[in-house]
């Protein structure tokens, strides 16, 4: 099913495009600790790609490699058909990759609107001076960016907390604001680090709906880490399974679910 064909249509009618990002033989070490060991996988345009695995498997490290926060000692990252040189995270962001964080990283004292506006930072070109005096290009730019932000706010249904300081919001809504900020950057590739951790069933359903809608409406490619197996199986097109820094499975959810190595990793086996 997942050969090198340029694009194909999934059972539920979504089009999955060509390979967008390819991780080739990535190894990441922190001193003597090997966090990621020789992992390769690809991400196709328009798909929802999940990375799962037990605690400490190296999932978040992998996301940090994609976002340019960590630089692997070995291996190559290919993005849009070219090898990506070592980049700073903001340079990666400019290439159209946005992310959310496992532990919410919003500006607590600022309003939801201002937080989401920071997602537009890479789209603002006017200088610090013209922004300070709110003149000419700066004014025009802010209006344009506000329009984009308002569409995101409408999309994620957070109009009622637009002016509320983030510190006053409950956890589930903060998570949604984080997603809004990432979406405001108008990303090609969206990285979600445990978007549903700590949520109740209703909040998880809402979030799942939003993730599917983002993928559907904007055609955004999504890589997500999640622990809730039900959610992963429902949402994702393909799943990478990691354990102790190694890849132990890769494929559509049904295939992964029946993979013996995956079952062992989750349920545990006797180590000799």
């Amino acid at each position: 099913m997942f050969d090198q064909a340029e694009s194909f249509v999934t059972a539920d009618g979504r089009t999955i495009g060509a390979v967008m990002m390819e991780m080739k033989n990535i190894t990441l070490r922190f001193g003597g600790v090997v966090a990621i060991k020789d992992i390769s996988f690809d991400v196709r345009e328009g798909e929802i790609r999940a990375i799962i695995g037990p605690n400490g498997a190296g999932k978040s490290s992998m996301l940090n490699v994609i976002s340019g926060f960590y630089h692997p000692q070995e291996g190559e990252v290919w993005y849009k058909g070219a090898r990506r040189p070592e980049m700073k995270p903001f340079e990666v962001a400019r290439q159209g990759i946005a992310r959310t964080f496992q532990n919410i990283a919003l500006f607590e004292g600022m309003s939801v609107l201002d937080n989401v506006m920071t997602g537009r930072l890479n789209h603002m070109k006017s200088g610090i001076l013209s922004q300070a005096i709110w003149y000419g290009k700066a004014e025009r730019e802010e209006t344009e960016n506000r329009a984009v932000v308002e569409r995101v706010i409408d999309f994620l249904e957070i109009q009622h907390i637009r002016k509320t300081p983030v510190s006053r919001l409950p956890y589930g809504l903060k998570k949604r604001v984080e997603l809004a900020r990432a979406l405001a950057a108008d990303p090609k590739l969206l990285l979600l680090d445990e978007p549903m951790a700590g949520m109740n069933v209703e909040e998880k359903e809402d979030m799942s709906r939003f993730i599917l809608d983002v993928n559907d409406e904007f055609g955004t490619t999504i890589v997500l880490i999640e622990h809730d197996m039900g959610v992963v199986m429902d949402l994702s097109d393909r799943v990478v399974v990691m354990d102790y820094g190694k890849k132990i499975g890769d494929g559509p959810p049904d295939e992964v679910r029946n993979n013996q190595a995956v079952i062992d990793a989750y349920l545990g086996v006797a180590h000799d």
Partner: protein
């Protein structure tokens, strides 16, 4: 500017055309979207309506077809109603939060051929019941989000239907004009389903005459003009919203504003500052509760100022509003209060510009009513029904009281039957219940008099009507004393901590009550008093909460004892319910009126406990979640006694 002449204006689309030529560039509709108020002039509205009407014609819509409308208040959905009326079809707005089988019943009963749905949620509900809807041809949806991948054999996007309509103008334009011209004053204007406190909803057929005559009369009564601003936020399926946001808006040409979402309603209200405002008592109650909660958390200086100013307002405010004589010093004090407290408070409530405010749908607590009047908001009551196109009685300016519902509205005759039941006859009296001649005959007699089902009487000195209760709810207690549950419930509901109350006692020795606490108010109180709780159920059974509710009930008993006729209705035993009464569980109507019989049947074990003298009852209740799934909750409820106050006459002797 006020419009009075109705010559030739025999349909709602005719009014639309008149507005476009008279007020063309004036804002007709506004909606907040993407953080800004988007607006449409009357001319733009006509363009939108015509395009959709032509689109419906291209789908083969016939005169008399029923077009159901489901969604939150949005200009597009009001236009959908206008478009349906333009081609001689009948719009049938339905409650957007109704669950599958309720919608199925209505759509099946009216044999809807087209449905205009607001979003994916509504479309999903309809697709679930598609098989039972034989006549359904097309679902027209507004917000395309999430619907892209759906099978479109039956679906059509609103704007794309409008585009098709515009493209077909050449072929169908004449037909549209012909259909509009063919309309008469007695053609059906709209069909509205009653919420039905008993039995199945009934489809009330209202003619152009009903709607236009009523809109004309009521607009003149309150001198409504084209410069009014209203916020349309009440369910579109409710006759009130139809009359205010369609009938009166089209008749006088005022602007209808739609909120961004249900959650932002209060913010939007503040931004628009309506001049003409309508809300059922529960909205006013929520607003007051929110203010009171925030005042509890305010600093001591602010709290002192607020209490002082409100006490003064309570004393002279209503008199000032009614134009009665008030002393000079009191006026000065009130003026100062207005600068420091009432003005900012009205602004916070979004009611600064309200010239005329109405409450109806249910009786309003006198304290609640006086609160709004005392800070200078001209809040009045009216009494009405879907079958009357709203208006039966109405309070004129300067004759406003909490315990009456006013004098007969212009053009309405009212009489009280021998059994105390209220009857009326007016140009607004409905044509019939759709496909239900028996009910029509039992409600409306040959001379056009309609039975309201409410019991009441006219006050001799003022000529104002007073409603006692639903005629069938008013009963006798075992010892023959009068039992009027609503009267007691309304008194209880005035306490911010009590959201809902249901009183029992017909043919019994004493009265008992179920109480729902208001989670906002009691939750806030719990926070301040360091009471930890995990949810509604746990909080509702907390001993301190029970103490608090008991104190409220005993206070209410004191006040009921003042009225010798009703002193038998004092509540002797009560319990706090472990769940909120909910329309999804059938315990309330969609307009949030308690279905007494359902509650009685559903919680019969609790009632048995209340009358059996039990101290605790264990119970399990089935609940329906918003998405239609079912679950159940179990709880152990404490049943308490409340002290009964001595009757007033006895005390006086």
């Amino acid at each position: 500017m006020t419009v009075t002449d109705s010559a030739g204006l025999v349909s709602i689309p005719a009014l639309l055309a008149r507005n476009a030529s008279e007020f063309g560039d004036k804002a007709a509709y506004r909606e907040k979207e993407f953080g800004i108020w988007q607006s449409w002039t009357w001319l733009e509205a006509v363009d939108q309506v015509e395009a959709l009407a032509l689109g419906l014609l291209s789908l083969g819509a016939e005169k008399g077809d029923h077009v159901a409308i489901a969604g939150r208040n949005r200009p597009y959905l009001y236009w959908a109603m206008l478009a349906a009326q333009s081609i001689g079809a009948v719009p049938v707005p339905i409650y957007q939060d109704a669950v599958g089988d309720e919608i199925a019943y209505v759509l099946d009963h009216c044999n809807a051929r087209f449905i205009v749905a607001g979003d994916q949620e509504q479309v999903d509900k309809i697709l679930d019941i598609r098989d039972s809807l034989k006549n359904l041809q097309t679902i027209i949806y507004l917000d395309p989000r999430g619907l892209r991948k759906y099978d479109h054999s039956m679906l059509k996007q609103y704007q794309s239907l409008q585009d098709e309509g515009r493209a077909a103008r050449r072929d169908l334009g004449d037909e549209l004009v012909k259909r509009q011209k063919a309309q008469t004053y007695d053609d059906t204007c709209v069909m509205l389903y009653t919420s039905g406190t008993t039995g199945r909803p009934k489809g009330v057929v209202l003619s152009n005459r009903n709607v236009i005559e009523t809109s004309k009369n009521s607009s003149q009564f309150d001198d409504l003009g084209s410069s009014e601003e209203v916020l349309a936020y009440l369910p579109m399926a409710w006759v009130g919203d139809y009359t205010f946001s369609m009938g009166q808006a089209l008749w006088t040409g005022f602007c209808v504003n739609c909120p961004e979402s249900a959650e932002t309603m209060m913010t939007d209200l503040r931004e628009i500052g309506p001049t003409y405002y309508f809300a059922p008592p529960r909205v006013f109650e929520n607003q007051l509760t929110n203010v009171m909660i925030r005042m509890e958390d305010a600093g001591s200086l602010k709290k002192w100022m607020f209490d002082k100013a409100m006490a003064h307002a309570k004393r002279v405010g209503p008199a000032l509003l009614s134009g009665e004589p008030v002393g000079f010093m009191d006026r000065v004090k009130y003026f100062l209060g207005d600068i420091f407290i009432y003005g900012p408070l009205k602004n916070t409530l979004g009611l600064s510009r309200v010239r005329i405010g109405y409450t109806a749908g249910e009786a309003i607590g006198p304290e609640l009513f006086d609160f709004y009047r005392s800070i200078g908001i001209n809040l009045k009551q009216l009494y009405g029904q879907t079958e009357a196109t709203v208006y039966v009685t109405i309070q004129p300016d300067g004759q406003v009281r909490a315990d009456t519902v006013g004098v007969p509205a212009p053009g309405v005759e009212v009489r009280v039957g021998d059994n105390g039941e209220i009857y009326y006859r007016s140009p607004g009296v409905f044509v019939e219940y759709y496909n239900n001649p028996e009910s029509t005959a039992s409600t409306k007699d040959a001379e056009g008099w309609v039975a309201t089902g409410d019991a009441g009487f006219f006050e001799e000195d003022t000529g104002h009507l007073r409603i006692i209760d639903r005629a069938k709810d008013v009963g006798k207690m075992a010892d023959g004393r009068l039992f009027a549950p609503k009267y007691v419930e309304n008194k209880l509901k005035f306490y911010p901590n009590i959201l809902e109350a249901v009183v029992f006692g017909s043919s019994r020795d004493y009265c008992t009550a179920f109480v729902n606490i208001d989670l906002n108010a009691v939750g806030n109180w719990a926070e301040r008093n360091n009471i930890a709780y995990g949810g509604y159920q746990e909080l509702s059974q907390h001993p301190k909460v029970l103490d608090m509710i008991q104190a409220h009930i005993e206070e209410t008993n004191q006040s009921i004892a003042q009225d010798p006729m009703l002193s038998g209705c004092q509540v002797s035993r009560f319990l706090v319910l472990h769940k909120e009464l909910d329309a999804d569980d059938g315990e309330m109507t969609r307009t949030r009126k308690v279905r007494r019989r359902t509650v009685e049947d559903k919680f019969d074990d609790l009632i048995a406990g209340l009358y059996g003298g039990a101290e605790f009852v264990e119970t399990t209740t089935e609940v329906t979640y918003e998405d239609g799934r079912k679950g159940s909750i179990s709880a152990k409820l404490e049943l308490r006694d409340a002290a009964i106050a001595a009757e007033q006459q006895v005390a006086a002797q």
